[in-house]
Symmetry: C2
Subunit: 294 residues, 2 copies
């Protein structure tokens, strides 16, 4: 069994990007610039956004944090989005979700210029992804693809089972892995809450991607010997023995599943760190106009 | 075994729409208007476009056919698209594919205003479909959904296998059937040229959708007893006994597969007629501003 070390891989990729940015600066090119918008005081969101800004700085990007309290109106947020759309120095930006209840997330997502939508959530980018056109890939599936590629895990012709059909992980991951692309060309089955006999499907998987948000849902009897297991879940599980009263657990029962796997991602330190890296990669692509030429 | 009669169903839906259009006219509302653009002299395309225009007339729509010969430049076609985008009376239009080699199909598709993209090929509509937002569904998958719905075929929780991952049939059908929607909620496996042990997958299918373009590829031994089989293929097979020298065959070996099925679509007269109906339905939706409010 080999661990897919998302933390180390993320570090490697960021160092590669840092070198490229250094070169861009030497040549007097445009320094990539990512902006993040944070509305309200959700503690998890604060951590995520702080990590994103920190990662930008690590690789030499310029970064901007736009912070507003939870009383911000939808109209005010749409104006912030509009300003970022029109700011030529900003290559990409994200609006951290979830937003306060009184703001329509869909409306905000649709307002972001697709050319700056480095989260890959706008329908234009989602559609381009599904049609195999150049686009910004959503962060988590992009991170998963990077892991498979960098660990030289063969995907083509493999049986891939995805658990969970969210718009940000399961659905795009299932689409990407079945595309005629590298990595891709897998035979993908997308499973969800309505799937009957889930273990029958998971036991058939050469590559199993789990994104359900249910702690330790996948047990050893559900996994084929030699499978590659990608665990997207990050759940807090009560644990009185820890000082903070909880521990972090994935959607996979790691201790019993890991020995059966050829590769497996840990939680934390697996998929999580890769998502920020994806965002950085998308911003670099935007800055280099690799997706949209104008 | 019950035949899914696409020809009859298409007729029924068109009659329903004709009644609705009649009502709209009585009330002095806007008469839906579909335009079709045909470039060049491809005989199959001429038949398709003629059918589309004829169907429009049948249901009481206004229709416009824009015909140009194969010497039309890309620039000229883009101007036609632009004019149709700006013509307030046109609710939707299609540019019949394939286009002559010197014209970039992707560029033309992207130039169509998504609000008038009743073929559902623009990335915005494709992305909205995948994200579960209101959109124009691509004609063939939309026709398949209509068939399943109108024949009261349970999809939720079923094992659905899609053969072929084209952007116009297999990929969108696989996405649609796995969505949390009605019809939907199936466990979908998307198979293609790189899939290993295809029969293992097809034999597991409660619902099998075949869109490979390979005549009579699916044989009885590949199908589960009681399965629902949707055959999207329309292939010409040499047949000296026919006056015209060929017959039309689906991707499924109908004679031997049909007896095992609970439902099956014939070729011709199955999925084919439903695609035009989808286009008509999308145009009506556009006219009623059901997808985009402005």
């Amino acid at each position: 069994m080999q661990l897919i070390d998302g933390k180390a891989l993320s570090q490697t990729i960021k160092e590669e990007i840092a070198q490229e940015v250094e070169q861009i600066k030497k040549n007097g090119g445009k320094v990539p610039h990512l902006a993040a918008v944070l509305i309200g005081e959700d503690p998890a969101s604060e951590v995520y956004v702080r990590n994103k800004v920190k990662s930008c700085e690590m690789v030499g990007f310029n970064s901007t944090l736009v912070r507003r309290d939870s009383s911000t109106t939808e109209e005010e947020l749409l104006q912030i989005v509009e300003d970022l759309n029109n700011n030529d120095d900003i290559d990409g930006f994200i609006v951290q979700l979830p937003l306060p209840k009184h703001i329509n997330e869909e409306k905000v997502t649709l307002a972001i210029d697709p050319r700056k939508d480095v989260d890959g959530f706008h329908p234009v980018n989602f559609g381009r992804m599904a049609q195999g056109l150049p686009c910004y890939l959503p962060a988590t599936p992009f991170g998963i693809l990077q892991m498979l590629e960098r660990y030289n895990i063969e995907v083509s012709g493999k049986e891939c089972v995805v658990l969970g059909r969210s718009n940000i992980v399961g659905t795009p991951a299932s689409i990407l892995l079945s595309r005629k692309a590298q990595p891709g060309n897998a035979t993908v089955t997308l499973c969800h809450s309505r799937t009957k006999d889930l273990p029958k499907h998971t036991r058939n998987a050469d590559i199993l991607i789990v994104s359900l948000g249910i702690p330790e849902f996948v047990t050893a009897d559900m996994v084929k010997e030699g499978a590659v297991v990608i665990d997207v879940g990050i759940n807090r599980v009560e644990d009185a023995s820890r000082k903070r009263g909880y521990r972090l657990a994935g959607d996979v029962k790691f201790d019993e599943v890991a020995p059966k796997c050829s590769y497996i991602t840990p939680v934390p330190g697996g998929v999580g760190p890769m998502t920020v890296t994806s965002l950085i990669m998308n911003t670099l692509k935007s800055s280099k106009k690799e997706v949209y030429s104008s």
